[in-house]
């Protein structure tokens, strides 16, 4: 993935594919450990939706960059530096409030992104986005419902939700960064402008926080690097766990 001549559109779809895969794996880590049986199923449903989106985007990426690389090769045979997901999705599950906060912040971003991609000049990406919008609308609804109940719940749930938002908020700045890749795909009408997404994201998140009696955290620390393969420490451990089976038994199937 160090090739320079690669189509920026392929880098763009890879970024979103990696977002989906990494968050899918984080959510799957809740399997059998969620606070209730019902929530266990809900979180893994969301994980499976995201995995499906990742697969479609990996396939499109391989068409765009001409490598024909398989979905498995994307997921299991790349090293940490090759992954270009945002830092937000790789953050550890923490307590349930952290998982809910991560989902709220990311699903809001993803929903706005997919909505914009619905009008992409890349018709395949537009079709993937059209299907994903329905799924992500539900993910956001799920996260919103829990944010309202934890934020406007007991003193303890409010405090945990507040702490979770404060912990994750710094990682949201990266979502709206622009670089040569985004400039190119926006100019060609493949993708929506990240800066324009920001306004929609702000008003959507602010409204949920207000209703949940939570304050919007403020931070001057805005870590970045995920889109260039520079990740937080926890990501390497997650990747090792996710990839070890495939690396120990290449091509394993069932």
């Amino acid at each position: 993935m160090t090739a320079v001549a690669v189509d920026p559109a392929a880098v763009y779809t890879l970024r979103h594919a990696d977002d989906c895969l990494v968050l899918s794996h984080r959510l799957a880590q809740w399997s059998s450990r969620a606070p209730s049986l019902e929530e266990d199923v809900a979180l893994t449903n969301i994980a499976l939706d995201l995995l499906g989106q990742a697969r479609a985007l990996y396939t499109r990426t391989s068409e765009l960059d001409g490598t024909g690389r398989s979905e498995d090769a994307h997921a299991f045979q790349r090293d940490e530096r090759d992954f270009v997901n945002c830092l937000l999705v790789e953050q550890e599950n923490g307590d349930f409030a952290v998982t809910v906060a991560r989902q709220l912040l990311f699903s809001t971003y993803q929903l706005e992104t997919w909505r914009a991609l619905g009008g992409s000049t890349d018709r395949q990406v537009a079709a993937i986005a059209a299907k994903a919008v329905k799924e992500v609308t539900y993910h956001l609804d799920h996260a919103t419902q829990w944010t309202l109940r934890l934020g406007d719940g007991t003193a303890e749930s409010h405090e945990r939700m507040r702490a979770a938002l404060e912990q994750l908020w710094p990682y949201t700045a990266e979502l709206f960064e622009t670089d040569a890749v985004t400039d190119d795909v926006v100019a060609r009408g493949v993708a929506g402008d990240p800066q324009r997404l920001r306004a929609a994201w702000d008003s959507s998140v602010d409204q949920v926080l207000r209703e949940a009696t939570l304050e919007r955290p403020s931070t001057s620390w805005t870590p970045t690097g995920g889109r260039r393969g520079l990740h937080t420490e926890c990501f390497g451990y997650m990747l090792a766990e996710m990839q070890h089976l495939h690396r120990a038994h290449p091509g394993a199937r069932w």
């Binding site: 606070p35 209730s36 049986l37 019902e38 929530e39 199923v41 809900a42 449903n45 609804d141 799920h142 419902q145 109940r149």
Partner: protein
């Protein structure tokens, strides 16, 4: 699965397609009605089982007691004349 606070129980009814009635499919725990509806969606409609969901607090259901079974149901056993088996049903009438 901590058990400190048990959320209320809800009964779930799903209509599989238009024209049919909602059928009871099971029960689940949820803090309130809106969460119960979402949990029902996640637990019971993963395989396209339905197009409409009802959730009802289990506590709102008044059920007949097994002790009352005889006075409730037994008297109907020998009243065959209540079944419409003495009429000729036209072939065109499929579901009666």
């Amino acid at each position: 699965m901590s058990e400190q606070v048990r959320e209320p129980l809800w009964e779930v009814f799903i209509r599989s397609r238009r024209g049919l009635s909602h059928n009871h499919v099971g029960s689940l725990h949820a803090a309130d009605a809106q969460m119960a509806l979402r949990n029902a969606r996640d637990v019971f409609t993963r395989r396209m089982e339905g197009i409409s969901i009802w959730v009802v607090p289990s506590a709102s259901i008044t059920a007949s007691s097994p002790d009352e079974r005889d006075p409730f149901f037994e008297p109907a056993a020998d009243k065959a004349y209540r079944h419409p088996t003495f009429y000729d049903i036209p072939k065109e009438v499929k579901q009666l």
